[in-house]
């Protein structure tokens, strides 16, 4: 009897002890972070929307570049000017050869010196493992001239090479980077932050300060990036609860509420991305008729979309993807302001009329019934598509909205009347007009899935590539922009502004609109 009692008391004691320990350990943890805060630990925790999934520069170069681990030969400044990066200077040797002179005082994170061998190694490896990089940059091969000089040989005369060298994927890393089974698991770069560790299971990347950074020592001691926080409301909750110090793209409607929170800073800045409508197929009815395309462009109320769908996190476009401030932007374009009357008129001219009085236009017995395809990952897209749908209804076009995976949409764009409502259309991954214009409007462009073909545009784009005088070049590209907007190759609705949310103690973030989607900078520091 007694023994049993003791036993049950023993159990109670054990339980209470365990509970006490658990509760206590929580307390200790809490206090631990509190004291850390009081001496203002220079540590930045970032919640990143996209997954990191690899630290191999050949595939994750863009990410590692955005987090300042790896650098490129040239840099794009926030004001869109191209400045020397790891390269000191560059010159054109002949039509297809660019000579790049490297800076000679640059050390990798392992204290070895950056030489032409590393540059050649990085380029060769990047282009071999990731054919997209070769495709985007148009580089044929890299030749070492001496320890601090390399030649870049291109397929065709290419004036865009210096800009292409700032492409976030064209990162330079040491040939001593630790490789395992052909995949780099510990990249050694030149950036302000060094690789500490990467946990693939939890998708957390840890970086530490590079004391010997060639361009001034960064202020932060550690940067921790939690990748794959895809849900906007999850990121919002994380920053509000103080779990992270820095994140981007909270839910569209929350900007105002977050701004009123004294513990947070909200920075909304332009980005070279935007929202647009892509016609499914320009060579087939109904979009082979330019009047129909124009009518659709006039039918979209861009102003109200920017105000109510993008919550002012955007700006009306001039019909082209380049944001104001970019040198080669054609500032004379006006795009297609909202005008439903004009849209109806144009459709009438194209032969579309409501003959059976059901509110839907028809022509030769065919009703104007189309499908708007879009995908759910960008939160503004589904409501944007629904709004466009209701605006089309006003001019007599009956649209159905289908939300599905990006890849599934591609297969359906040949259906009669298909339109893709797109977001994230980027114009500056390579800061050169050729990148965006050729991809989208050259008849063989990578993103030209809608079959836009204008021989004049093709000719001008090729001429632009091989023109080395910048003023002349930009004029050619401005001309292309005008032709494309006149042709209504697509309907660019609005530029997308990025919202960055930080704790109020995070200072020194300088937005870089050319980044995809954001890039931290060495000047960031934490203040109480």
């Amino acid at each position: 009897m007694l023994r049993i009692k003791i036993n049950s008391i023993g159990i109670w004691i054990t339980l209470v002890t365990i509970m006490g320990l658990v509760a206590f350990s929580g307390c200790i943890d809490q206090e631990g972070t509190d004291t850390d805060k009081s001496r203002v630990e220079q540590k930045l925790v970032i919640a990143e929307p996209w997954g990191i999934s690899s630290v191999d520069p050949a595939t994750a170069g863009g990410t590692l570049n955005n987090f300042l681990l790896l650098e490129t030969l040239t840099f794009m400044e926030p004001d869109f000017s191209l400045v020397p990066g790891l390269a000191e200077s560059w010159e054109l040797i002949d039509n297809t050869t660019w000579r790049i002179h490297l800076k000679d005082n640059i050390k990798f994170h392992d204290n070895t010196e950056l030489t032409a061998d590393d540059v050649k190694y990085s380029f060769d490896r990047n282009m071999e493992k990731n054919p997209t990089i070769r495709g985007e940059m148009g580089i044929k091969s890299i030749k070492k001239i001496d320890d601090y000089t390399v030649d870049i040989i291109t397929d065709k005369p290419d004036a865009a090479i210096p800009a292409a060298l700032s492409y976030a994927q064209a990162v330079i890393y040491s040939k001593n980077s630790v490789e395992k089974d052909g995949i780099i698991v510990k990249p050694i770069g030149t950036g302000p932050f060094k690789f500490e560790k990467y946990n693939k299971a939890s998708d957390i990347l840890e970086l530490s300060k590079n004391e010997n950074y060639w361009n001034g020592v960064p202020k932060l001691d550690t940067v921790i990036i939690q990748g794959g926080v895809g849900e906007a409301s999850t990121r919002e909750l994380a920053i509000e609860k103080g779990e992270v110090d820095f994140t981007t793209e909270p839910p569209m409607g929350s900007t105002e509420r977050l701004e009123s929170n004294p513990d947070l800073n909200v920075i909304v800045h332009p980005l070279c991305q935007g929202y647009k409508l892509n016609f499914g197929n320009l060579s087939k009815a109904p979009y082979d008729d330019i009047n129909v395309r124009k009518a659709i462009a006039y039918a979209v109320d861009k102003e109200s979309i920017v105000e109510h769908i993008l919550y002012e996190r955007g700006e009306i476009s001039n019909g082209m993807g380049f944001v104001p401030g970019i040198e080669w932007r054609n500032n004379d374009l006006e795009g297609y302001p909202y005008d439903p009357q004009k849209a109806k008129q144009l459709l009438k001219e194209a032969g579309w009329e409501d003959t059976d009085n059901d509110g839907i236009l028809d022509k030769d017995g065919k009703a104007f019934k189309i499908t708007l395809y879009t995908w759910p990952q960008r939160p503004a897209l589904p409501p944007l598509a629904e709004t466009v749908q209701s605006q089309f209804k006003e001019i007599g076009i009956d649209a159905e909205v289908r939300i599905m995976d990006w890849s599934a949409i591609t297969e359906r764009l040949n259906e009669w009347g298909a339109i893709r409502v797109s977001g994230g259309a980027t114009s500056m991954r390579i800061p050169d007009p050729g990148y965006y214009l050729e991809r989208n409007f050259h008849s063989e462009g990578n993103s030209n899935s809608y079959g836009y073909k204008n021989e004049e545009v093709d000719r001008l784009l090729e001429e632009g590539r091989s023109t080395f005088d910048n003023e002349k070049r930009y004029d050619i590209y401005r001309n292309v922009q005008k032709i494309v907007v006149d042709d209504v190759a697509d309907v660019y609705i609005a530029y997308h502004n990025l919202a960055v949310v930080t704790k109020s103690g995070v200072n020194g973030y300088v937005p870089n609109p050319s980044a995809h989607d954001y890039r931290i900078n060495p000047g960031i520091y934490i203040e109480e």
């Binding site: 839910p251 409607g253 629904e386 939300i403």
Partner: protein, 283 residues
């Protein structure tokens, strides 16, 4: 006839079940009279009126595109009932037919059909529905197909069991001895006896179908915008949960009330019809 009256009385004594029945009757009225009672057009987008809190003008507020939430809920109930009635009808017909045929004829046919049912039952039904929608693409029609694809299994199981026990009864033997054909026996003797447990099953199934439809809608795989559907509305409201909770609360409440009502009715029916059948499993 007398037994039916007794069953009705039994059912009437069950308070929860009666409550459920009343709620469902009201909801069906709402669904039928959607045009008359809904204050606004459920798909009319007025961006200027977006995200308004509940007020006299908009009893349940407006959503992120300025549409009236109450109107959307009303039209949503119509869609929900349509969908679930179609699904339950299809699955009940298919399931009962398969079950009776399988149980009545037995042998290799029974073996094949039941093993097929076993295989499908081994998967969680929502996963199978996701697979079907993944293959066919999202949309209302595909939602019906996907849910029906897995929904008929329980009916087949229940019907087969009842058929097996009934076909051994003397009155079946009598019928056979006077020369009745298989079809006649199934139609006249087996089918009416199999129907009772299936009615209970169908009522409980209504609840689970409504839940699955809402789940698929929430995942963006069900009704496509701007169609008002409760699950889709939940999904759209999720983005604004912290600011405008009414966008999610009202559709969520509706789903809960409807499913609960169907479950109460199902329980009541089960108790009234057959007190021994207390553990019918609804997939």
């Amino acid at each position: 006839m007398i037994s039916l009256l007794r069953d009705v009385r039994e059912f009437g004594k069950n308070r929860a079940a009666m409550m459920g029945l009343i709620v469902i009757c009201i909801l069906i009225m709402i669904a039928l009279l959607a045009e008359v009672i809904s204050p606004y057009d459920p798909t009319k987008i007025i961006l200027e009126d977006k995200l308004q809190a509940p007020s006299i003008e908009h009893i349940m507020g407006t959503d992120h595109l300025g549409r009236d939430v109450l109107s959307r809920i009303i039209y949503g109930s119509r869609l929900t009932f349509q969908l679930s009635i179609i699904v339950v009808t299809i699955t009940a017909i298919v399931g009962i037919t398969v079950g009776i045929v399988s149980g009545y004829y037995g042998g290799i046919l029974d073996e094949i059909l039941m093993r097929f049912v076993d295989i499908l039952l081994a998967f969680p039904s929502i996963i199978l529905a996701l697979v079907v929608i993944g293959a066919l693409g999202p949309g209302i029609n595909n939602t019906i197909l996907a849910i029906s694809f897995v929904g008929w299994l329980s009916y087949a199981r229940v019907s087969r069991g009842s058929t097996l026990s009934i076909k051994e009864k003397e009155f079946i033997e009598c019928a056979r001895s006077i020369g009745s054909g298989d079809f006649y026996i199934i139609y006249k003797h087996v089918y009416p006896n199999v129907l009772y447990p299936n009615i209970v099953l169908a009522t409980l199934h209504m609840g689970s179908v409504i839940l699955t439809v809402a789940a698929l809608g929430f995942l963006g795989l069900g009704a496509q915008p701007p169609t008002p559907e409760w699950g889709t509305m939940l999904n759209e409201g999720k983005e604004f949960l912290r600011m405008c909770p009414w966008l999610s609360i009202f559709p969520g409440l509706m789903i809960m009330i409807t499913v609960l009502a169907f479950n109460f009715i199902g329980d009541g029916l089960r108790d009234a019809l057959d007190p021994r059948m207390k553990d019918v499993v609804v997939k």
